[in-house]
Symmetry: C2
């Protein structure tokens, strides 16, 4: 589950509620990982409280440095979770602390076994193989407007950007896509999330939209010949804007209407 | 010629230079119309000076209200121009002052006879049949994020937005396109312009990019059923980012590489 940041914590809490439901509801074992946050204790506590108020048992799993990420007792907490939630902050802290550690292995194992792995804002970006870590939002698509790093790789075909409409991040997502049009660029708005099921079908949850940029049909990308500060040309991207309930098949690259009432 | 605003006035001045060239160079008769500007005299003077410094005779043609727009002597100045340049400001002033007047008729006549009609920023928006006059840049595509009004209609198939990448205006252009996917949405970055020739081929000039959103293949738009504040779904938009020299055939909806050196 990938959340675009600033999800509602006080009203209907649709996104947090959906995470709880997918994690098993009252029977969920939720682990909150606030490694990305500047103040991990405070960030974790806010989510533990939020999940508790929705009736789901949650605990903070502290992974503040690589030593803690190497602790097998900590890794076990992740392995046993039915839902793992990464808070916002700096996505580089997530990969720099977890990369190659027993905690990362436990995360993958839990994910493989069916646990829901969710991330908001920085936690969202970290889900892809190559993650966006920074850039500019006020310029045309150029290689220099996006900086990328190796992510956790739970969603390998995607490159994700968050706070998408709110911060006008089209250029940096396009600049990433221009460098490998085989990827699917996904921009997630605030208070909006998408859930990817086992068949690779993405479903939107939340008040705003998920923008999907499909690069597979790109005819021309000048990314390999352009200087860092040179405006790119990129033709033939297919763009879909999807609101609550709409779905997208990542493999087939096709949008779908919401599932009928009552179906899952 | 449609300019995304903030075109270079002090360096290579590629956009202003191209306007002068298309208008006839030393033999040009350029009319500057600053109707959109808050201080029309100052805005017009800046462009008259800019064109003069490029060797082209230019004069300010004052159309500050509908009385002046009805003045046949003023209209004659527009009719005789080989290049007419609309400054930035408020696009509603352009249409509210010129709409249905002899000056507007003269503008169309000059355009039909081959004069180059250019507009920057507000002047750019006014070129389409339905023009964007305002909206929000920090939200997902919803009907309420874009306000539209009747424009001058010199480029009837287009809906234009300016300062595009710099102000993150994807959502409002998509919200406009969702309401009539038959249009071609064109987002023009600052210091960037496009020129449309007699065959309806658009060519990019400038340092950044022109983003073309082709709605013809849209499979689904929820614009007619969504509330004003409801996030839209819009699938199957084809997006092209075009940098300097790249072209786009508006009728065929196809991008083209730059023309070979020396060709026009």
């Amino acid at each position: 589950m990938v959340v675009g940041g600033h999800e509602d914590h006080s009203g209907a809490r649709r996104i947090l509620r959906e995470f709880v439901r997918l994690s098993g509801g009252f029977a969920a074992r939720i682990a909150v990982v606030a490694t990305a946050a500047e103040d991990p204790a405070a960030a974790a506590a806010a989510y533990v409280d939020a999940f508790a108020s929705l009736g789901a048992p949650a605990r903070a799993v502290r992974v503040a440095d690589r030593r803690e990420a190497g602790d097998f007792a900590v890794a076990d907490l992740l392995r046993q979770a039915t839902g793992i939630f990464f808070t916002g902050g700096d996505q580089l802290r997530i990969t720099a602390m977890l990369g190659g550690t027993p905690c990362e292995a436990a995360l993958r194992q839990a994910h493989g076994a069916g646990a829901v792995v969710a991330g908001t804002s920085a936690g969202a970006s970290a889900m892809s193989s190559t993650m966006i870590v920074g850039g500019r939002s006020d310029a045309s698509p150029r290689r220099e407007v996006v900086r990328m790093s190796p992510g956790l790789g739970l969603l390998p075909e995607l490159v994700i950007d968050q706070h998408f409409a709110q911060r006008g991040r089209l250029s940096r997502l396009l600049a990433a896509l221009a460098q490998n049009p085989g990827l699917l660029g996904v921009g997630v708005d605030e208070d909006t999330a998408f859930v990817v099921d086992g068949d690779g079908v993405l479903r939107v949850v939340g008040s705003a939209t998920v923008t999907v940029l499909d690069g597979r049909g790109v005819r021309l990308s000048t990314a390999s010949e352009a200087d860092l500060d040179q405006s790119l040309t990129l033709t033939g991207v297919v763009l879909h804007v999807l609101s609550d309930g709409y779905r997208f098949d990542i493999r087939a690259r096709r949008p779908y209407p919401p599932a009928p009432e009552g179906a899952e």
